[in-house]
Symmetry: C2
Subunit: 673 residues, 2 copies
């Protein structure tokens, strides 16, 4: 068997069959195992195979496998996965293999299924290869298998399958990069290309980042104006924060609409995850899925709920109390240190920074520890779908991080009521993130270069005559994509700063916006060049983050109202017109509730899905309803004819007698003649 370097083969690789996914086995892989794995991958469905194309990487170590799939397998799998595609009548409907020719450009597979979709499909297909009759992994008699076990999961656990990842397509990647993360272009991102190359959730994130950044413009301008024109009067301050609150509501509502349009056009909106295959780590007694009638593991929902409410939630609360206690200690220490420093000025000033440093270490430690715990817990909750697993994990970590980020600020604003300190803290935080981001941002290309050099090197990478297999190995050497969580978290914190406290420090929005403009390019850069290409499942929205941002929106009303009520301007105003603090508070609460009401009404008034999308979806629903009737009727057409015949006989008895019958149109006769 020749190696990739053979020109004939090279051409057919690059032109004819493009390798989509690479499997990296352990260095000293047993040939028997390798061959077994290959046969299983390419065997027919009937004998428990995946019907995929597989090719031995032919690299020096011989521990690589390249997987691809024929058009038909991809299309059939696309139906199983439940992709929605553009039908000839212009509506998005669930793809059907038998009917594929009526879907728009279904003849050209590379256009019809995006690269991300093809790789996702292969992932799903590989994950679903089950043990048939093997007692143990061939070549590893110690590694026993049980029937129905997912082979890939097993191979990873027993470290025989080192890793597997989808492959980059350099030409597309270069084109994409040029339009995406080059500083020369200032236009919007090519979201659709991002979707087709990386997949749903990545595209969603970048589209949201862009949307958020753009939406910051008005409020940034307003904030800048407030500062520049030093409109520090009470009415301006109130005006600003009211504007702020309305803004945060409208932005989230408009985003919902925008994202629904995106996910509809991508066909990810209606993909009912209930019809999906369960995730690989999902445990449960095997049984028939009541919905799809497929043979799948099943785990009762109530037990999951029980676990969540009786274990996960208490654990979360425990950790929260830890971090709150840590914060308390920090504030006490700081006070003590200050006192100590002021008393004996002999000691070094650096002592002053001790508490913050310790606290930072503590928080970081807690964060990483808690994240591990959260992952264990969520795994243990045993969620059926990848999406719900991700959501539950996100919520757990999110809440914890939120408290860690904002508790101090709330403490300062609500308990200490020290707005000056709050403003300082906020400014420092923002500027700090700014600087850090800029630093990372500049360092990214540098890192990129070094990594490349560490591998085959940047030059070789671009050279035509580099063996493809080496390029593929290079990709394998990159660190795997850590997921979107931290990026979203950063956005979330920023959104928090902007909407919770910006009435204290109106420049927040401006700083965040500037930060994001660089952020977009940085994240794009990282995704394209620093990490291995990730498997991305089609996403219909930004999941729990939507909710998280909306909650921030509601909290913002509360905090803004409170901050204004304790702002010096208001206090001064009250002192002038001698209003008692109690009345001020009553007014504050009143206004707050009114604003909350307005928020809710706004949220209801703005429909989440545009009319045209709604119409199309309903049309498809209606069609499916009709189709179901049609199908069921088809099942026993002739039977119903019999029934009709029987009816006509029984009719005589039910009809009126001669006297009246003249008055009745016995329509049965009519439609049976």
């Amino acid at each position: 068997m020749g190696s990739w370097t053979r020109p004939t083969c090279k051409c057919c690789i690059s032109k004819a069959v493009q390798p989509l996914v690479a499997l990296e086995l352990i260095e000293d892989i047993n040939m028997e195992t390798k061959r077994w794995l290959m046969t299983r991958i390419q065997a027919e469905k009937i004998v428990g195979g995946a019907e995929l194309m597989v090719h031995p990487g032919e690299d020096d170590d011989g521990n690589m496998l390249l997987v691809s799939a024929s058009q038909h397998v991809l299309l059939r799998a696309a139906e199983v996965v439940g992709l929605y595609k553009l039908y000839k009548d212009g509506s998005m409907i669930a793809f059907s293999y038998r009917d594929s020719r009526n879907f728009q450009n279904s003849d050209n597979i590379n256009e019809f299924l995006t690269l991300a979709e093809r790789q996702f499909i292969i992932l799903r297909t590989l994950e679903n290869i089950k043990v048939v009759d093997e007692k143990y992994i061939p070549g590893y008699p110690t590694e026993t298998l049980y029937p129905g076990e997912a082979i890939f999961n097993r191979l990873q656990k027993s470290k025989i399958l080192h890793t597997f990842y989808p492959l980059h397509d350099e030409q597309i990647l270069c084109k994409l990069g040029a339009r995406w993360h080059s500083y020369t272009n200032l236009s919007l991102q090519p979201i659709d290309s991002i979707y087709s190359y990386f997949g749903g959730s990545v595209a969603m994130y970048f589209s949201f980042l862009e949307f958020f950044t753009c939406s910051l413009m008005p409020i940034a301008a307003f904030g800048a104006a407030v500062v520049l024109l030093s409109m520090d009067t009470i009415d301006k301050c109130i005006l600003f924060s009211v504007f702020n609150m309305i803004w945060s509501t409208v932005v989230m509502e408009l985003w919902k609409r925008h994202s629904s349009v995106l996910s509809y056009t991508w066909g990810t909106m209606q993909m009912n995850s209930q019809f999906e295959e369960p995730r690989v780590d999902y445990k449960g007694s095997m049984g028939i899925n009541p919905i799809t009638h497929r043979y799948q593991p099943y785990y009762p929902a109530w037990r999951r709920k029980l676990k969540i409410w009786c274990v996960s939630v208490p654990v979360l609360c425990l950790f929260l109390s830890f971090s709150l206690f840590g914060m308390y200690v920090f504030f006490r220490m700081e006070a003590l240190v200050k006192a100590y420093y002021s008393e004996n000025d002999g000691c070094w000033a650096c002592v002053l920074y001790l508490p913050s440093i310790l606290h930072t270490l503590y928080v970081t430690g807690m964060n990483s520890l808690y994240k591990m715990v959260a992952e264990v817990l969520t795994e243990w909750e045993n969620h059926r779908l990848e999406s719900s697993y991700q959501n539950h994990l996100t919520i757990k970590v999110l809440v914890f991080r939120f408290v860690n980020c904002f508790a101090a600020l709330f403490y300062i604003s609500i308990y200490l009521q020290d707005l000056e300190l709050l403003r300082k803290k906020l400014a420092s935080l923002l500027v700090l993130t700014q600087i850090i981001n800029q630093l990372i941002e500049t360092s990214v290309p540098y890192l990129y270069k070094t990594i490349m050099r560490k591998g085959a090197g940047l030059k070789k990478m671009t050279m035509e005559n580099t063996p493809d297999i080496d390029k593929i190995k290079l990709q394998g050497e990159m660190s795997s994509f850590p997921g979107m969580f931290d990026e979203y978290m950063e956005l979330f914190v920023q959104f928090g700063y902007v909407s919770l406290f910006s009435c204290i420090y109106p420049l927040t929005a401006l700083l965040v916006m500037v930060n994001n403009i660089t952020e977009i390019r940085m994240d794009a850069m990282k995704l394209c060049h620093l990490f291995r290409k990730p498997f991305i499942s089609p996403a219909a929205n930004i999941g729990v983050w939507q909710t998280a941002f909306e909650i921030i929106g509601f909290l913002s009303v509360i905090s803004n109202c409170f901050l204004i009520s304790i702002s010096p301007q208001v206090e001064g105003y009250c002192a002038e017109n001698n209003i008692t603090p109690k009345n001020v508070l009553i007014w504050t609460v009143g206004i707050e509730h009114a604003l909350l009401a307005i928020k809710i009404i706004l949220a209801f008034a703005i429909p989440d899905v545009p009319q045209w999308v709604k119409l199309r979806i309903e049309r498809v629903e209606y069609q499916s309803l009709q189709a179901l009737k049609h199908k069921l009727a088809e099942a026993d057409k002739d039977d119903s004819r019999e029934m009709a015949a029987k009816e006509t006989l029984s009719d005589g008895t039910t009809g009126f007698n001669s006297a009246e019958s003249s008055l009745y149109t016995s329509n049965k006769q009519l439609n049976l003649l």
Copy 2:
């Protein structure tokens, strides 16, 4: 043509064809018109008829028409209306005429379609009779018609059709009454029988009334305990209102679940109203419905929205300001009168009641005036569906009534902060409603008797030899059913009293509960014997009332917290531990927000639809999805075969060359052999 009294005919009327709907034309109806109408009703669909059975009432004035329908027409119409029925596999699916034999007991029409459903179907069918080529109403050359106009709507407008109503079935009604509104039985109501006799929204109302009454028990017991054991301490008071708040949330959530089960078993849950025919008064340019592809009038949604937000809402606000102003005047007057009375004790004490009397008159006037305005506005908003028309009308009136009922109480509690007065007012309101209800309740049977006597009389009614036609005329003479609004409103106000203020007057729940127990029977009595049988459309839930009750739930948190904070117990407690009023308020607000958060979390934690219902619905969704694919594929089965064939040819090129091809399972060949 013989009359109904003829025994032969009588039997065939009572046994064979049961008249379902009666049309009452004007007294001196032109025979030509009557005959034309009859022909149109019984003509075939092709010539624009309704294919129903019609029978001339043969009464003295000859202005009655009795309408019925054959099994087949009913079944076919049931599909058009979009009823969901129990399929042989135990799931509820949209009824399909062609497949009807596979629906459970579809052979016995009277079991398969409930009386209410049959009558509803006939109503829909009649309403959809359109003008074909008539230039004017036969016999009334002045009454011109335009093509496509709905005949029944037209006849009503031009007073030729006096009224039309569904007919009671005495035997069933007697059975139902015995199990429903007789005081001898204390068991729960026969909700399913109510559904099948009266239809969705009526059954929903009574089921909700029952649910609400039962759910009051714990809180009534708690309240009674608080009063009897005079646990008037602060902690009890707080405990009680916290319990109260949790209760109101849980009750509404459980009701959602309960009602979803009901509507699922009735098959009204999934009836997508979007697929319904538009309501008769719906105006719009004729066009193809984008969803169902039926030829229907269409009116852009944005114009409706515009009308709502730019006209209806401002009008509502205007009226609200009126009634608030009225309340203000009332309080001023009362103060003045009190002062006047105390000054010169010569005048009569009755003067004291003058303000309340005037205010009551004012409010009642405003209520009725506003209701008319609301009806006009909602009609003008031109809603496509009856349900959405009803909802918008309800919201409008609801908000207004709510303000009228509770503004005074809020004024007393929040502005005057006079809890004693509040308690008095509350008690009086409750006792008053009690007494009034009891009075009406006792008078109902009396009224019933008199009305019966006024008609053919109670005795004759029950006698076998009364001509059926007279009984039918009797029903026509009854006043038409006013709808559920006032009943719901009463419940709504009660719920308001219980959850908003019961921490002030803990007996509220008990009183309300006692009241409702009689209320159920009273409403049942009215519905069965005092009113003409109404046409009831199938309802999936209690519509906007659900939301209304939930809003009350949220308001209750606010009001309870506030009331507690100003309660003498708390004030005493604070005085002891010298807490400033400001801090008290801060605590109150804090607790309030916490409770609101808990409420929201609870609402999320309790799923609105039970798991088993969710599963079944999803299964049907999945089936229809598959069916749609199947159908579309059927459309060009052979075409796709061609494509497959083509693929095999092109395959040669895409395959790897000899060296590797051995490694590929070119599965296309496999599945084409």
